[in-house]
């Protein structure tokens, strides 16, 4: 071998090496350049410059702020009179007549002062609103006849106030206020998910954790016949603001869709996969037909199947489960038939040589071989289908996906949105973990091919 060195002059070798490195250099430059060029194309195709203009960072701020805080509406009804305090302005978040938020202080008949943040405060007196910002002064909005009048210290309208003769909006740093002929309203943001545990009408509202534990322990009953603990659970479970019961049901429905869909698909795909495997079905035409069916049901996304199935089955988790089942029958069919094509013939032949019947041959020659592949695929899909079920639910099925998309579309309850997102993430992580545990247990632990 060393002999050839003498025949190939070293300069030739050097030139060769230069060319080699040069070629690699070219590829090294070309690949990132191609990617870069593609990104440049996308930059314009996706209209990124326009996007930057359109991006509403204030929306992002609202989203973030709302996800960890809540707002309380302090409303004066200008037509019928009367002051109302309600969390998120919702009827079910309304303070009973004898209760008021601690940042609201009565300053007279039909008049309150609302402490806002950043040193700002607002006063409502009848239909008149006075909004005070420490660095600016006090703005007064009052209703005169059919007109809404805005008075500012310097007579100009600053950019944080939107004013017309029929409506005035004030967006301060520590709160918001709006006046129309119908009502005068102040909005105050506070930290936390208010009413998450109990709504205002529950006797347990506003109690600290230790008080609640004490109540749960104590014998004297607050609510009728129920024990305190049962009453607490009941009030929490039926919380009309956060609707924990419905949310839990929705999560459960989502997992149910994933479970039924995945398992159903596996049960259907297994026998069909034999028809699609070269070594079990000699007939080319059958194989081809079955494979194309697999391709078809797999190629159409589960979501589209949901739409197609919604006519026959209507909205609900069953429709979602069937849609997942259809898609996954395709995926499983393809994967199982590939696993079947890779089985070791020796084992089958061993079983066959004893005079075993065909079904027994499959049971002992084939199934034990493909079980690990099968199980691990099925469990992997179970986890990933929890996510698909969320998406499918968003369109027709129901479940947590529907709650989430609706909450996002109405763009109102971002704290609920973040609650749902958290639950979804926890749900998927849980399914991921559970399927991992099962996979390890079933595949390594068991000695039998069940």
């Amino acid at each position: 071998m060393t002999a050839t060195v003498e025949f190939l002059p070293i300069d030739t070798l050097k030139a060769q090496a230069d060319r080699l490195i040069g070629r690699k250099r070219l590829i090294g430059f070309a690949a990132p350049l191609v990617i870069l060029a593609y990104f440049v194309y996308l930059f314009f195709a996706f209209d990124i410059p326009g996007l930057v203009d359109r991006a509403r960072m204030d929306n992002a701020a609202i989203l973030v702020a709302d996800s960890y805080s809540h707002k309380t509406h302090i409303t004066h009804d200008n037509r019928n009179g009367g002051l109302v305090f309600a969390i998120e302005g919702e009827a079910k978040g309304r303070y009973p007549a004898d209760m008021r938020p601690e940042f609201v202080t009565p300053i007279g008949e039909d008049a309150v002062r609302v402490e806002l943040k950043a040193g700002e405060f607002a006063e409502i007196e009848g239909s008149t609103l006075r909004y005070t910002r420490p660095d600016y002064g006090t703005v007064t909005v009052r209703i005169e006849g059919r007109e809404i009048i805005l008075d500012t210290p310097d007579g100009n309208v600053p950019d944080w106030i939107g004013a017309s003769s029929t409506r005035v909006n004030i967006t301060g740093e520590g709160g918001r206020a709006a006046v129309t002929r119908a009502r005068t309203e102040v909005f105050r943001y506070s930290f936390g998910w208010e009413l998450f545990w109990f709504t205002l009408d529950s006797p347990f509202y506003g109690k600290s954790f230790s008080e609640l534990v004490g109540l749960a322990m104590s014998g004297d009953r607050i609510v009728g016949e129920k024990s305190n603990f049962a009453a607490m659970v009941h009030d929490f479970w039926n919380n009309p603001m956060w609707r924990h019961k419905d949310v839990v049901w929705a999560i459960f429905e989502t997992i149910l869709m994933a479970f039924l869909g995945t398992m159903g698909a596996a049960l259907i795909a297994l026998p069909l996969a034999f028809l699609a495997a070269r070594n079990f079905t000699r007939l080319m035409s059958v194989r081809f037909a079955v494979r194309r069916v697999f391709d078809f049901v797999r190629g159409v996304d589960g979501l589209i199947w949901t739409i197609i199935l919604s006519r026959a089955f209507g909205p609900g988790p069953l429709t979602g489960a069937l849609a997942i089942m259809l898609t996954d029958t395709g995926s499983f069919g393809k994967m199982f038939s590939e696993a079947l094509e890779n089985v070791d013939d020796k084992q089958i032949e061993g079983v066959r040589s004893t005079g075993a019947k065909p079904l027994q041959r499959y049971r002992f020659g084939v199934i034990p071989q493909i079980t690990p592949v099968l199980l691990s695929q099925v469990l992997y899909y179970l986890e990933s289908n929890t996510r698909s079920a969320t998406v499918i639910g968003a369109i027709t099925g129901g479940g947590i996906g529907l709650l989430l998309t609706q909450a996002i579309i109405t763009q109102k309850d971002w704290e609920e949105v973040s609650y749902y997102i958290m639950l979804i993430v926890l749900m998927v992580i849980f399914m991921d973990w559970a399927s991992g545990v099962l996979r390890r247990r079933l595949i390594r632990g068991k000695t039998n091919g069940h």
Binding site: A55, M257, F313, T319, A394
Partner: protein, 291 residues
């Protein structure tokens, strides 16, 4: 191993013991097997019944009507079959947008996944103490369904392809990152050590020692993901992220009178998925067997 030579069987008594022990084991196993089977069947049937009762329509009534809707679509589409090619051309730009979303998100997600996977593989990590952090990060990225991110981003950025792209890329990062780090774990440490001994920096070691080893497997996973992302980007069109899914949803939604559009989009989408499926399985075979 003590191979008892033939003839030295352990004798009747031991044999009986073994029989006992085995029978006991077989019984437990049978019992466990039986219990698992019963649990599984119970879960399936009760799950089915529950889903059936919470659904608007029942399974047994519905199953008779499954072909009603597809039937309507197909009959209208076949009446207007002549229009379909033109419609396919009309929707082609949307298809390109969908494919672009998928390609861009696979690329971006893939590149991020490379970095995250290297940072979270034992033996390779730049900051071994942070492995757990990066892994959880990937778990969370994987766990959030695309649609969630897309919807939130649509709120901030407005509709269009970018929210979908970011949403899918985000999810892809988590999904591919996990797969990549599994691949990395099987990479041989030897070339790495060789490079380290020359005084190569971490990024050089990864670039020259790890990537050449794992690139084919990475690529194979990325191609698989690309396919999945095409579907995902079509789906995100349903919630207002543009692309072919948007057209499909509107046509589907309007219903009768536009089923020819449904058919055209369907054909386009299906052909695309089959095309990329074939293309990527071709490349994957080549990469894994060849190279």
């Amino acid at each position: 191993m003590t191979d008892v030579t033939l003839g030295h069987s352990i004798g009747g008594q031991r044999s009986a013991e073994i029989q006992q022990a085995y029978m006991a084991m077989a019984r437990t196993k049978r019992m466990y097997g039986g219990i698992m089977l019963i649990i599984f069947i119970a879960l399936m049937t009760s799950g089915f019944m529950l889903a059936d009762s919470r659904n608007a329509g029942g399974f047994w009534n519905g199953i008779l009507n499954v072909f009603q809707f597809p039937g309507e679509v197909i009959s209208e589409a076949s009446e207007k079959v002549a229009l379909i090619p033109a419609l396919m051309v009309k929707f082609f730009p949307s298809l390109i947008e969908t494919i672009n979303i998928a390609a861009a998100s696979t690329l971006v997600g893939g590149l991020l996944a490379v970095a995250l996977s290297l940072l979270s593989t034992r033996g390779l990590a730049r900051f071994p103490a942070l492995i757990g952090v990066f892994r959880r990060l990937m778990d969370i990225m994987r766990a959030i369904p695309e649609i969630v991110i897309a919807l939130v981003l649509i709120f901030v950025l407005g509709g269009g392809p970018v929210p979908a792209m970011i949403a899918i890329a985000f999810h892809t990062t988590g999904a591919l990152g996990k797969l990549f780090s599994e691949v990395n774990e099987n990479a041989s440490q030897k070339p790495l050590e060789g490079l380290e001994s020359t005084g190569a920096s971490w990024s050089q070691r990864m670039l020259l020692g790890v990537i050449p080893q794992v690139a084919p497997n990475w690529l194979s996973y990325a191609l698989l993901r690309f396919e999945i992302n095409i579907r995902a980007s079509a789906i995100l069109g349903f919630v207002g992220s543009g692309g072919i899914g948007y057209d499909l949803k509107n046509a589907f939604s309007w219903g009768q009178g536009r089923y020819d559009e449904v058919a055209a989009i369907f054909i386009l989408l299906f052909l695309t998925i089959v095309f990329f499926d074939q293309l990527s399985s071709h490349f994957r075979n080549k990469l894994v067997t060849g190279a």
